[in-house]
């Protein structure tokens, strides 16, 4: 197991109830999608925030990735809703 920093934004942050976490990553969690499903098992707040998995966007070390992207050596993983800037 290794440690990663998680950061959340917008209503993902509000529903989880905080802006960041540091978690231990089980060996079975290989991809961004695995991580989302893993988090949903950790409590109701996570389950509510990540309910609709397909709308959750993921960034590894500040770059957008698809859900099937292997986590590899990523140190900071961000979860957030579709963006609405501009």
């Amino acid at each position: 197991m290794r440690t990663v920093d998680l950061v959340y934004f917008s209503w993902v942050r509000e529903r989880i109830g905080r802006g960041e976490d540091r978690i231990e990553l089980p060996e079975t969690v290989k991809t961004a999608g695995d991580l989302i499903r893993h988090l949903k098992g950790l409590g109701d707040d996570y389950a509510s925030a990540l309910e609709h998995e397909n709308v959750i966007r993921v960034a590894f070390d500040q770059e957008h990735v698809d859900h099937d992207e292997p986590i590899g050596g990523a140190r900071e993983i961000a979860l957030f809703p579709p963006m609405t800037g501009g």
């Binding site: 934004f9 500040q62 809703p81 609405t84 800037g85």
Partner: protein, 158 residues
Amino acid sequence: MAGIAASLTVRVQAEVFDTAAEISLLSAGRNDIGAVVSFSGLCRDEGGTLEALELEHYPGMAEAEIRRICAEAIRRFDLQGVTAIHRYGKIAPGAPIVLVVAASSHRQAAFDGASFIMDFLKTGAPFWKKEHRVDGGKGDWVSAKDADDSARDRWRQR
């Protein structure tokens, strides 16, 4: 303009910016720029119900992502210079949120460059808008629009 590096300025800030000054800065002292297109995105109030928009952003990634988008636009449209500024924090109706300026020797490239940057910025730069209402009602997060994804995707079909 192969061989001459294009100028690229990207800023993510809470402060208001001076649209006018940014536009003149990009072309000042140069005779090789024929066209400058600027896009200003303003906080729009639909019928007096909005007190302000609050923009949350992902520090670091917001600037990095805008920089990636602008660099791609410079390469794709052979732009001579780009300035992109995006604000965060509370923004009142009528106030500017985003500015993109693209300079090129030709007008179509300048139009396409600015439009491309805005379409990708809308869907890819990590910013989220929350509404604060005049009546003090609980703010809603603005929903992403399918039309914005479509606007971005038309660049992939060209």
